[in-house]
């Protein structure tokens, strides 16, 4: 049984770490790298940096932040937001990212998934999906930080993305994101049932114990957390011990 990974997610706008609700709001929390270092020291298994407004503003500028992260943080780093080409991916990987996450550009041009995956390996190519509930066990994929509808069924789109070479999926529930109401477990189930690559659950963690359902019943391979860490409502250590107490295999970290 693979260990579940505990991932700290940092949404970045310009030089700031921000946190929204339902992917809305730009409240500044502080310095991304200060927080990244703290999460690393507390035992995060990985970090995800998302420039959530890159597509909205038509730009991408995460390289500086990633470069400084790579200076003091020695765990895998995934970077996403505004990745539109193999060149963008190359640049970010050169700046210290281990994986790139792509959403908007992949929907516009699914071949990009294959291009990135062929060049760098599927394990570097993370398909980022924003899922909004639109019916009974039906979710629609959104892009541009939860602002544009795609008409794509989330499960079908993820299957396609994986067949094109995505080696991992970052699945964000637009409905739960920032609400602290727990993960959308049925969303997770619907996806993990269909693909054999790791799926990261994102959106909704209110308490440490929320991870139990999404891992045990949703079969999430990893859990991304933001609000709970940024607002210091729990630490990585607390979260890790909750996982261990629930018999979920996680990395041992003192």
């Amino acid at each position: 049984m693979r260990k579940a990974r505990l991932i700290a997610r940092l949404d970045v706008k310009g030089p700031n770490l921000i946190k929204g609700i339902h992917l809305e709001g730009l409240r500044v929390i502080g310095s991304p790298n200060e927080h990244a270092v703290r999460y690393y020291e507390q035992g995060a298994d990985e970090l995800i940096y998302m420039d959530c407004v890159a597509s909205l503003y038509g730009r991408n500028n995460l390289s500086d932040i990633v470069k400084s992260a790579a200076e003091n943080v020695f765990i895998p780093i995934t970077v996403g937001g505004g990745v539109r080409s193999v060149e963008d991916a190359t640049h970010l990987l050169r700046c210290g990212a281990d994986k790139v996450a792509v959403n908007t550009a992949a929907v516009a041009n699914p071949a990009l998934i294959s291009e990135i995956s062929r060049r760098f390996g599927s394990q570097c190519m993370v398909l980022s999906v924003e899922a909004k509930l639109v019916g009974e066990k039906k979710w629609e994929a959104y892009t541009d930080n939860g602002r544009e509808r795609t008409g794509l069924d989330v499960v079908e789109w993820i299957k396609k993305g994986v067949s094109l070479g995505a080696g991992e999926v970052l699945l964000t529930s637009v409905d739960r994101e920032g609400t602290r109401k727990g993960f959308d477990v049925s969303l997770m189930q619907a996806v993990t049932r269909e693909v054999s690559v790791p799926v990261i659950a994102s959106g909704g963690m209110g308490e440490a114990s929320d991870l139990i359902a999404v891992v045990k019943e949703g079969y999430a391979d990893a859990v991304a957390m933001a609000d709970i860490l940024h607002y210091k409502r729990a630490s990585m250590r607390d979260i890790r011990s909750v996982a261990l107490s629930a018999d979920i295999e996680v990395r041992r970290y003192e």
Binding site: R2, D45, N72, G96, D98, S196, R252
Partner: protein, 215 residues
């Protein structure tokens, strides 16, 4: 701590920046280079690698670096291969047919099975944190690269193929995936390989890099 001189071999594949940063963080003085003279001038070398075995060996050949590395090895230079870099230390790989490696550690590179030991399907590549265990032939890691590491310490792995050394004494550490022992660290004299990414495994990974700098 002395600034140790070290060259990270640049053959166009591998996360050079992360490896360089981590080594510098541990006190090394790092040059990233594909220049044979530079490579042969230092007491320690690191061979990184991410991607396909065949492509990597072809890139080494294109830069005429295979011989240089073998020369360095014969001179007693300490060489650490990381991830694909570790796999390249062996004789050959079965990835996409038969491809010759650097032949510095006897053995070959084989695919990780898509079936676990109890017959269930398992996900490949092997991605994530996994614990190191002592291999059958070893009772402790004293005096080795892994001195100071405890069995059960977790490291970050990302690979679809695994090294299978010919001789048990060259297996320094394993991890278990799908009920099967996977080679995690190999070592033969001055040649060392880590299947995991020490530069991505947090403080325990850095511990290994620091240890490498003192060997």
């Amino acid at each position: 701590m002395n600034k140790q001189e070290l060259t990270v071999i640049d053959y166009g594949m591998g996360n050079l920046l992360s490896v360089k940063r981590a080594l510098e963080h541990c006190g090394a003085s790092v040059i990233v280079s594909s220049d044979p003279a530079q490579i042969l001038s230092v007491p320690r070398l690191v061979l990184p690698g991410v991607g396909a075995f065949g492509d990597a060996m072809a890139e080494l050949a294109r830069r005429e670096l295979s011989l240089v590395i073998k020369e360095a090895a014969s001179r007693g230079t300490l060489i650490m291969g990381i991830c694909l870099g570790m796999q390249m230390l062996l004789d050959e790989s079965e990835e996409f047919g038969q491809t010759a490696g650097l032949g510095l550690i006897p053995g070959k590179v084989v695919p990780i099975s898509t079936l676990s030991s109890d017959g269930n399907r398992q996900k490949v590549p092997h991605i994530g944190w996994n614990d190191l265990v002592l291999p059958a032939a070893k009772s402790n890691w004293d005096g080795t690269l892994l001195q100071g590491i405890s069995p059960g310490d977790a490291f970050y792995f990302v690979h679809s193929f695994m090294a299978s050394p010919l001789h048990q004494e060259h297996r320094l550490a394993d991890c278990v995936y799908g009920g099967v022992k996977v080679s995690a660290v190999v070592a033969k004299d001055n040649i060392i390989g880590c299947q995991f990414h020490p530069e991505k495994s947090g403080e325990v990974g850095l511990k290994i890099l620091r240890r490498f700098l003192t060997l």
